[in-house]
């Protein structure tokens, strides 16, 4: 599961250099090592005419073990397992002998950032080619040993076989010889019918360690001489330390040091260009760190600390003011981002008009493992142990803040106790490094849940005004969508008006190609509240408005919502979802998942009173998905989502069980936001502090999720983000079906459903 802005380099996957991207060599242990380029480094290297410097490694040892260095972060999405499966398939490896090694940050790996539901998409072809090439070299080595035709040799589970003479050689026995061979070009890849690892339910490689408590996350780091710290950060956004009195904190047993952390300007997260004085707001929080011999002593020291704060730029902000500003902005015109035909005139002349406004709040990531980082800065070097989705970004920020070169920085990427986009941010690593430098020791900086909730990079709030015109036959004549929201790109990069390639308008595209007159416009809320990338990013908000409004239009037109969706999909292949993937929508695939979800959900079959069924469909991150939700609405207005049917076409499936797990989990994630999540601001500060006032979906809230996967050998699509956006509109549509009432604000204000 993962997140990233679509304008980052992450999104230019599957465009790796065609020529010579594999190199082989001998390891110190006389094994075969295959280095491979993973995009985008390959393309850049090719463009620059640079020498080969592989950014991923496969090693086959003389003892027959296969090692894959995984340069992507594992945060529950299963990337360490999936990447191993792709490699092992083409290598024809023995699954019991393949192991994944987590790569430390190193520039040689290129982009290690884990986001945008991109890891498998970007690694699919290069990993397959690496596996197939290594296999071919091992076969050649065997064939030469036996002096038999290569065509008579086959492989199975880590062994080359010559059936005629009943001879076998294990890969380990061939590794040294294979390493001396030239690297063959354009080795053919397996026919999908021959897959024996892909498309099977391989168990997660980290599972056995997780269930015995031996999986190590960032927060579990312990290094010799390590101290523990917590930080008092400014309560209001943009606030700064005015003065502080360390005396009481220093009096707490075990407290070693109390040090100020400066509010340092942070570089862009993904190596983007940023103009000077661009108005970006991304700074390290700053604050006062309490460094102690244990976590609890640091927490106790912080309780005793006195800090006076400068209030900061956001000190007079409140949620109510922000909501009112957005509501005001959507009444007028915004920046025109996509226009087809003459939507304003078409709306004016339509005999019937439909209009609705939708609202979504700021929401937090709250991974179960809160942010944390262990740093050791010494002798001009910086060593980091971090649960991070963005080691390259963190390294860049460390280099600029500490004023040391990149090669002096080591980042050990640990397992992540959830990511969801929070750990694309880099500031917690810089903060830990500054504290370690000041303390003169390795320091683990721990964040309480309160710290996490109050100092997050929130999914932006947004307000949507949608209008549609209906013609004499109840056909849609015009569709107008005005989004008002703070800009995430602007927070990190400056400026405040994004374009279609930004991270604000994904999910707003449907149904732009299917209606004759269309307008998408945007207005921007200025705020000091930090914004960031939250699992499914902009699609999470725009999609809610669009997919809810389709049902409202259907109701006004007297059409079945499923039927209207079918008509919109059939009308004309729509252009790509705004701000979304580059490829145009495949209408057949989109319709197939919609029909499959409807069929499996029993669309059209009556439900008992108080229950309703709703549907939503989505194309993004290369994946087609439809969700049908069944909801029970109690007399007091409480709702329970009983069942969710998911139909997903994510192209080539690596591991169907992992796809199902992401669907289940993505629905829980989206449902938490739909039912509960709202970060509110008073005096420029977040009001929520823990799971009592920022609740999560728990086991009794969890619907039964049924997943139906459309078989496909198309390029793999993402699976981390696609399941998140549709659950909220599917539930809103189901609530409407059950009650005739439309909830247009998230989290659902269910008191509006109470029967008096």
């Amino acid at each position: 599961m993962s997140i990233a802005p679509r304008n980052s380099k992450l999104h230019n996957f599957n465009q790796f250099a065609r020529r010579d991207f594999l190199k082989a060599g001998v390891t110190a242990g006389a094994g075969l090592v295959i280095g491979l380029y993973l995009p985008p480094l390959a393309r850049e290297a090719e463009a620059a005419g640079k020498d080969f410097a592989p950014n991923a490694f496969v090693e086959i040892t003389p003892t027959g073990d296969v090692h894959l260095w995984c340069a992507r972060s594992e945060m529950g999405q299963g990337v360490r397992t999936s990447m191993l499966m792709i490699l092992a398939e083409e290598l024809d490896a023995d699954w019991t002998r393949v192991k994944v090694v987590q790569a430390d940050f190193d520039a040689k790996y290129g982009d290690m950032t884990t986001g945008g539901s991109e890891s498998v998409r970007g690694s699919w072809t290069p990993l397959r080619k690496a596996g197939a090439t290594a296999r071919d070299m091992l076969v050649t080595a065997a064939q030469q040993s036996w002096s038999v035709p290569k065509s008579e040799c086959t492989t199975r589970a880590g062994t080359v076989i010559h059936a005629k003479t009943k001879r076998e050689l294990a890969y380990g026995e061939l590794a040294t010889k294979a390493a001396m061979l030239p690297v063959p070009q354009d080795v053919p890849l397996k026919d999908p019918k021959d897959y024996r690892i892909l498309e099977t339910k391989k168990a997660r490689v980290d599972g056995p360690f997780i269930v015995i408590g031996e999986a190590h996350y960032g927060i579990d780091t312990k290094v010799p001489g390590m101290l523990y710290a917590v930080v008092a950060r400014p309560p209001a956004f943009g606030g700064r330390v005015k003065t502080f009195d360390p005396a009481h904190a220093q009096a707490v047993a075990g407290v070693r040091k109390v040090v100020e952390v400066p509010a340092v300007e942070m570089p862009p997260l993904f190596g983007e260009e940023r103009k000077e004085n661009s108005g970006h707001q991304h700074y390290l929080w700053g604050g006062v760190a309490v460094v102690a011999d244990s976590t609890w002593q640091a927490i106790s020291g912080r309780k005793a600390l006195t800090v006076e704060w400068e209030p900061g730029a956001g000190a007079d902000e409140t949620t109510e003011k922000q909501r009112a500003s957005c509501a005001e902005m959507v009444k007028g015109s915004g920046k025109e981002l996509r226009k087809i035909g003459d939507p304003v005139a078409a709306l004016a002349s339509s005999p019937k008009k439909v209009e609705a406004e939708y609202e979504l709040p700021f929401v937090a990531h709250t991974p179960m493992e809160p942010p944390n980082c262990t740093a050791h800065v010494h002798d001009g070097k910086c060593e980091i142990w971090a649960p991070t989705q963005n080691a390259p970004g963190m390294a860049t920020a460390l280099a600029s803040t500490l004023n040391i070169p990149l090669p002096a920085i080591t980042i050990h990427v640990t397992l992540l106790g959830g990511g969801f986009g929070r750990r694309l941010n880099i500031e917690y690593g810089v903060e830990a490094a500054l504290i370690s430098r000041a303390a003169g020791a390795p320091v683990k900086v721990f964040w309480t849940r309160d710290d996490d909730l109050r100092h997050d990079y929130y999914r932006p709030m947004s307000h949507h005004r949608l209008r549609a015109g209906l013609g004499a036959q109840n056909q849609i004549t015009a569709w107008l969508h005005h989004v008002a929201a703070p800009t995430t790109d602007g927070f990190y990069l400056g400026g405040d008006i994004p374009d279609m390639g930004g991270t604000e308008l994904g999910g707003a595209g449907f149904p732009n190609g299917s209606v004759p007159n269309y307008l998408l416009e945007a207005s921007f809320l200025h705020t000091a509240v930090p914004r960031g990338y939250w699992r499914s990013v902009d699609v999470s908000w725009n999609h809610f408005a669009v997919q809810s409004f389709i049902d409202e239009v259907a109701a006004a037109a007297g059409k079945d919502p499923l039927e209207l969706r079918r008509q919109l999909i059939a009308a004309k292949p729509p252009a790509a979802e705004a701000g979304g993937d580059e490829k145009p929508v495949n209408v057949e695939r989109l319709r197939r998942v919609l029909d499959l979800a409807a069929e499996k959900a029993g669309w059209g079959k009556p439900l008992p009173a108080g229950r309703g069924r709703g549907i939503a469909n989505l194309y993004s991150w290369g994946t087609y998905i439809a969700q049908a939700a069944e909801v029970t609405v109690a007399k007091d207005g409480n709702i329970h989502v009983d069942r969710v049917v998911v139909a997903v076409d994510c192209g080539q499936v690596i591991n169907p069980d992992m796809v199902a797990a992401q669907m289940e989990g993505g629905i829980a994630f989206g449902l938490t936001a739909a039912l509960f999540s709202e970060v509110t601001i008073e005096n420029g500060q977040t009001q929520q502090s823990n799971f009592d006032n920022y609740p999560m979906v728990r086991i009794s809230d969890m619907p039964r999720v049924e997943v139906y996967i459309v078989p496909s050998h198309a390029d793999p699509g993402g699976i981390g983000e696609p399941p998140v956006p549709s659950i909220a509109p599917a539930v809103a549509n189901a609530i409407f079906a059950a009650t005739g009432k439309r909830l247009r604000r998230l989290p659902f204000q269910t008191q509006e459903l109470a029967q008096s």
Partner: protein, 165 residues
């Protein structure tokens, strides 16, 4: 700071911490048993659940003074070989995603099965109501508990309650 005696996973320890220190931090920072996780610090999420005298307990709000002299079991001590029926069912059902909250889930589930060898969905929901999994593995948790219940029945509740006790 006086020394406080605690028994963890069958082994006696003497720790020098202030009496208000939560058991969680003694386990993690002092004893290096990091399988027990911090999630909220206020007994709202269940990530820190351990057994104290067999009862599932939130170690984040249990002062070390209150745990003194009692028998504490952590995820590391639930079984000698990782083959508690709950752990096996967790793998069979492929429950974990990121895995961070799972130690707490497993400890509560093992304690549930020690008392109720055939829990219903409602029993499971009740027992795990205090737990949060942000990855949303709940559906598989239910399945795994049912599976563990089936598997552990013939062996009686001794196995389900954890071999280290």
């Amino acid at each position: 700071m006086d020394a406080i005696s605690i028994k963890v996973n069958g082994k006696a320890h003497s720790v020098e911490v202030t009496p208000d220190t939560p058991l969680l931090w003694v386990l993690r920072d002092t004893l290096g048993l990091t399988g027990t996780k911090f999630g909220c610090g206020m007994a709202l999420c269940g990530a820190c659940t351990v057994h104290i005298d067999g009862e599932p307990t939130r170690s984040c709000i249990t002062r070390i003074a209150a745990a003194a002299g009692r028998s504490i079991t952590t995820i590391e001590g639930l079984s000698p070989d990782g083959r508690n029926p709950v752990q096996l069912a967790w793998l069979a059902e492929q429950v974990p995603q990121c895995g961070y909250c799972q130690a707490g889930m497993i400890m509560t589930s093992a304690a549930l099965l020690a008392k109720n060898s055939a829990p219903s969905d409602a029993d499971i929901d009740d027992a795990l109501a205090g737990h949060i999994c942000r990855c949303g593995t709940y559906q598989r948790i239910r399945e795994a508990i049912h599976q563990a219940a089936t598997k552990s029945k013939p062996q009686s509740k001794k196995v389900a309650s954890g071999g280290a006790q």
